[in-house]
């Protein structure tokens, strides 16, 4: 459990002992989560993304201490809410993850092909929604501002999102720019759940739409850094979203 979550836990415990009036004062001091999300949307280009049919993100991922580097490419077709991601790690091979609009899947060289189910499947499906990146997805049932804090060396408002699947995630919106400067997500895999804090920075304009150019996170004592090299719009071809043969067979099996 990281410091942030401990703080949330302690705050929750403390609140049970303070008066209702005090809680109201605290709540009034914080901006509404809807306003923060709207401000964020305006800061990153509003609905400009809706004029496009698909997005393709390219980048590199580095774990410097482990000498590891990977190429990543993620594609999203907006209308069908389909998603596909390739991560290529030298010495390991190509890892694929996808969502065909109904079912999420993954295939990687260590454990093979599989259909994602339960929380893992729900998380992948929810994140495939293009509106999820704007935090306007109907999959988010509730967003609540919980505190003003400092993350990624910036003052920010922390918002807890509750998703349809029941899971929660957190964003911290910069007080000055309105951009998301940090996110906390419980990442679920077949191996279990791990909470990961991601710091977002170097927002850049990619064809009229602003996106974070770098993200960093700590996991298992390692710093993991992603550098986005490109966001392309309307370049995804249907054939590129085709899952590999084994995944197709698994999807057919149901």
């Amino acid at each position: 459990m990281n410091v942030f979550v401990r703080r949330v836990g302690l705050a929750a415990a403390a609140l049970s002992f303070v008066s209702v009036a005090a809680t109201r004062v605290s709540a009034q001091a914080l901006p509404d989560a809807k306003d923060l999300i709207q401000k964020y949307n305006e800061a990153v280009g509003g609905n400009a993304w809706k004029s496009h049919t698909s997005a393709r993100m390219k980048g590199t991922l580095e774990v410097p201490a482990a000498g590891m580097r990977a190429d990543i490419e993620a594609m999203n077709v907006f209308a069908s809410k389909t998603f596909m991601m390739k991560t290529t790690i030298p010495g390991m091979g190509e890892m694929l993850a996808g969502f065909d609009g109904t079912t999420a899947w993954s295939k990687e060289p260590m454990s093979g092909a599989r259909i994602l189910t339960g929380v893992e499947g729900a998380q992948a499906a929810e994140e495939a929604d293009p509106e999820a990146s704007m935090r306007t997805s109907p999959n988010i049932t509730k967003s609540e501002t919980v505190e003003k804090t400092t993350m990624n060396s910036q003052e920010c408002y922390k918002v807890v999102h509750t998703w349809k699947s029941g899971r929660t995630s957190q964003d911290c919106f910069s007080v000055t720019t309105g951009l998301i400067v940090a996110s906390i997500v419980k990442q679920t895999s077949m191996m279990g759940e791990m909470e990961v804090t991601t710091l977002l920075g170097e927002y850049k304009d990619f064809g009229g739409i602003k996106r974070a150019g770098t993200t960093t996170m700590q996991m298992m004592g390692q710093e993991i850094k992603t550098t986005v090299t490109a966001w392309e719009w309307d370049t995804v071809k249907p054939a590129e979203m085709e899952p590999p043969a084994d995944i197709k067979a698994l999807l057919k099996k149901g």
Binding site: A66, G67, A97, E127, V185, M190, M194
Partner: protein, 459 residues
Amino acid sequence: MSNPLGTTLRFLVAALAATFVATPIEAQAPQPFDRAVELASFDTAWTRVRDSYYDASMRGLNWSALRDTLRPRVEHGRSREDTRSAISTLVSRLGESHFGLIPADAMDAGSTDKSDVAGDAGFEVRFVDSTLVVTRVDGGTPASAMGVHAGWLVEEIDTLRVIDVLRATASVSAPTRRFALVRLTLNINGRLTGPSGEKLRLVFRDGKNARRELLVPLRETPGQVVEYGALPPMHVRFDSRRLTSGVRGGSACVGVIRFNIFMTPVMPQFEDAMSGMRSCTGVILDLRGNVGGLGAMVMGISGHYFAKAETLGTMRLREATMRYVANPVRVSRSGQPLQPFEGRVAIVVDELSASTTEILAAAMQVLGRARVFGTPSAGQALPALMTRLPNGDRLMYVIGDFAGPGGSRVEGAGVVPDEPFPLSRRALLAGRDEALEAAVRWIESSGRSTDSLKSAGRR
């Protein structure tokens, strides 16, 4: 597409959680010495372990006090060896197998951009009682052509006298001696490597105990070279075969699969091998000498033998507890339907079977899916990562603890075979592989086939 990085993280959890036993390392010539760099290396190692070791209490050790005690060794050090000694002493206080320091020179010596092609003597050795015995000779190698045979004793490798190193090990206390012998065996097998074509002086005792001094040319090390992260280049070797009885229309068979390291090039070969063994009575996974690799590969390998997503064990990290789970194989890479293999599974291990090998063997054994043969495994099964220090050395450091499906630790204890077969020089000289033969007999005794199979025979 809210969190493409999150998708990658699913993979990274698995990819980063490698479990490795250190590759054999030779002592190397000292490099140019810069005290500031050495101090930065010590500090990096100290901080890295403090921040990532799974037990935040550092097993009750006063980690800061240890730094204060050991850092002066580097401050006043005269060579990189002083830094290495300080770091090794530091991490040894945690008392676990997967801490290690690999000298930069050794890493560079193994890199593929050198003009030398990696070579090896083409045979393996193990300690049997107080002797170093050849346990396996690959066919078609210069060593094989020169008559080197399983069961021969090795007395000298170049200038190294085996009796001297054994004498040094004898003074190590009993609990540590096992680890020391594993390291020693790895290092001695490492001494049987070098540039391909180079000749290695070896002194043997043959089957009649006659002294045989040979200059053995090193063959080009077979296998696919894999470079993964900060790890040194590795040669991945995979071999599979069917032992058939020729009865029951030729359908009765025992499959034997052997590979030396858990790296991803193994996976498609494993799938293909298993596809050819679906009709067999049983399969033997010969994991002797397999020192581990990518821990997450146990989920794919075991998926060939489980119909359900069985938990193979848990990995306790500082931030979370992760499970290794079998991913039942339902389709081939080309999309053809598959069913997990239902026949008997035997796993053969020895004292150099370590880490990921032990995770797989322990899980399959505890879950009742495999019977284990051979000698107790290394008892070195912890998730570990490797990082480059400022002076170029690589630090391998433990990030997690591992417990099998029954909750018991493999670290220290190792996997104890259901049917132990200690190595015997006499059997080796007779061309017998007792552990493998016992595994074949056990498979034959299953209900699926009572036919006698041809002798497994050591190749």
